[in-house]
């Protein structure tokens, strides 16, 4: 019966929509609510190491007591302690500079691949993707080997007589930037390549035909058409770099911490779950602006049928 089939199909469709929502609610929304709750509590030497704890057996009074005990003083604490503010700034600074470097390196790379002969594109593309097949952690450890005092980098620079005695690379900001730019490069190259590859090359001929020299064609045609990919690349790099933990922890110095490290320290060393949770919430609020911007851009692109 067609009516029944229709009903079934409708049911299936609803199920298909519900499953991802359920997934998001269980693994993202619920943990977020828990972290939000902890961020409003205070530390205690107990198990769990914070209070108040919600006791549902105590009924309405228990609920009242629980909510009465929550306070925003962790957030006040964050605002007035320079350590936290400076590690936020540090994170934003590292993310900004390294995203700029990624763009400077990634755009020409993507452009080169997109303009390479068809038969080369697959191979070049592979070279960008290939490192992804090894664990991220192992690749960062490899950089420790390269950057250490008697590592590969110093050995090469010494043998080329560019430097006279080994330089300190490890545990510096330079090492962090090297690690980040290396690790995030594909996230910049791929979206930029995707937009450049789609670009109709006769547009460049049309620009030349209308009297536009090549360098100007880049600014008037190529760049505006690649902008969507560039913005996607910037957001794909910037957002996770702000919260980056592994790279600064392994390659950077302990004197200046990025926010990811600060959260880790609060959580595991100081056992101050409420402050760590408050930090995580603030970080999320900082990043939500670019994330929402990006999402809206994607939506608009979909609506326009691109």
């Amino acid at each position: 019966m067609p009516g029944r089939d229709h009903k079934n199909a409708n049911w299936l469709l609803r199920l298909a929509v519900i499953v991802p929502y359920l997934w998001m609610a269980t693994f993202f929304l619920a943990p977020f609510v828990i972290v939000l709750k902890i961020s409003f509590s205070h530390p205690e030497i107990a198990q769990p190491p914070y209070g108040p704890v919600l006791d549902l057996t105590a009924g309405i009074d228990g609920l009242k007591a629980f909510f009465g005990d929550l306070a925003a003083k962790n957030y006040e604490f964050l605002a007035f302690d320079w350590i936290y503010v400076s590690s936020f700034f540090k994170s934003l600074q590292v993310a900004t500079y390294s995203t700029a470097m990624l763009l400077l390196i990634g755009f020409p790379l993507a452009y080169g691949i997109a303009r390479a002969p068809r038969r080369w594109q697959g191979i070049l593309f592979m070279l960008i993707i290939l490192p992804f097949w090894t664990s991220f952690l192992i690749r960062v450890y490899a950089w420790i080997n390269i950057l250490q005092h008697d590592g590969l980098l110093n050995a090469i620079l010494l043998s080329l007589r560019i430097i006279e005695r080994p330089l300190v690379w490890l545990a510096t900001d330079t090492a962090v930037y090297i690690g980040i730019v290396y690790s995030y490069l594909p996230f910049m190259v791929l979206p930029v390549y995707a937009t450049l590859e789609k670009m109709d090359e006769t547009l460049l001929e049309a620009a030349a035909d209308l009297g536009c020299p090549r360098w100007k064609t880049f600014w008037l045609v190529t760049w505006p058409l690649a902008r969507k990919g560039v913005i996607a690349g910037i957001l794909l790099c910037f957002i996770p770099i702000v919260g980056e933990f592994v790279i600064p922890d392994l390659l950077g110095s302990s004197s200046t911490q990025m926010i990811g490290q600060t959260i880790w320290t609060e959580f595991f060393s100081n056992k101050d779950w409420p402050v760590a949770s408050a930090l995580a919430i603030v970080l999320l609020c900082l990043l939500i602006v670019p994330i929402v911007t990006y999402q809206q851009m994607q939506m608009r692109a979909v609506e326009r049928g691109h």
């Binding site: 109709d200 006769t202 547009l203 001929e205 049309a206 620009a207 030349a208 035909d209 209308l210 009297g211 536009c212 020299p213 100007k216 008037l220 045609v221 505006p224 058409l225 326009r304 049928g305």
Partner: protein, 389 residues
Amino acid sequence: MDADLTIGRNHSDGRQRRLAPWADPAARPLVRFEGVSKSFAGVRAIESLSLDIFEGEFFALLGPSGCGKTTLLRLVAGFESPDAGRVMLDGQDLAGVPPHRRPVNMMFQNYALFPHLSVAGNVAFGLKQDRLSKQEIAARLHEILALVRLDGLQGRKPHQLSGGQRQRVALARALVKRPRVLLLDEPLAALDKNLRAETQFELMHLRERLGLTFVIVTHDQSEAMTVADRICVMDQGRVVQVAPPAVVYEQPNSRWVAGFVGDVNLIEGRVVSSDGNRLVIESAGVGRIHLAATVDFARPGDTVWVALRPEKLSLMHERPASGEANCASGRVSDIGYLGDRSVCKLALDSGFEMKIALANNARSIERTVVWNDRVWVTWPQAAGVVLTR
């Protein structure tokens, strides 16, 4: 032959007809190809080709795909450079002049409109490169948009336009710089049939109004015949025939041209006698053919081909009274009704097959000829062309 010697086809009889530049030995060509060759990855696209295009001409490059016609256009635009020979504009060699410095503009087959720019942005793109004043740009923009009937659409982006509108934006963008030569690469290929026919006439009128030189590339022979003053028929990187449309159609210089431009019956035969303006040919297909043609190249015994256009033939149910005309008999094997005309296939008694186009000029639903009818086909002595290759 009038069409051979005059330019333009909408002069009224009262107006002075001027000598066509290609018939005038003193005329200087605007675009000249001199022994141009070009290959791509070892494949020859153009082979030592020479060709002159004159100022004010509507010139069509016609040929099957892969014949090198688009390459010829790209050589003028500067997107390709010749391996050998010279491409000249106004008597000057274009070698080494980059595309953005050539006073020619191209309309691309896929239009190549800038998707991020509005109609006005697209059309004014070329003007801005010339550093014209804002007022000048606005005035030229206004003028050209009115000319191609796009006024009011300045702010639209290409993806908000219909196919026909996009085509006009591309045309306006190429025209607005007033190029010495406008190059059109299959400009109407993406339009549907009615719009295409209409746009062909618009292109002609535009050319007449602006007095520019247009070079169009097309694989559509009726398009070339409609718009062009002269057609260059190309095959495999070579020029086969350059002539006004009527000459290409009525006096093709080879079997290939006769077959490519329009429908044709090709009858192979041997010359029996030739006395200057009368030719007798003996063929296996249709027997003896009498032709009124002044040919000095055919000697008795030569193998030649007679090209007969289907619309020059007529059908009769009775054997025609013996006279001047040629005739042959056969059976109708196929009829295709096309509205304005019907195409008949005739199986002659010799086994030879002939195509005949019958104009449906009487408004009648009854068919005058039906399948398997035994009929006679006749054609006047002046109807056929003798070809030797």
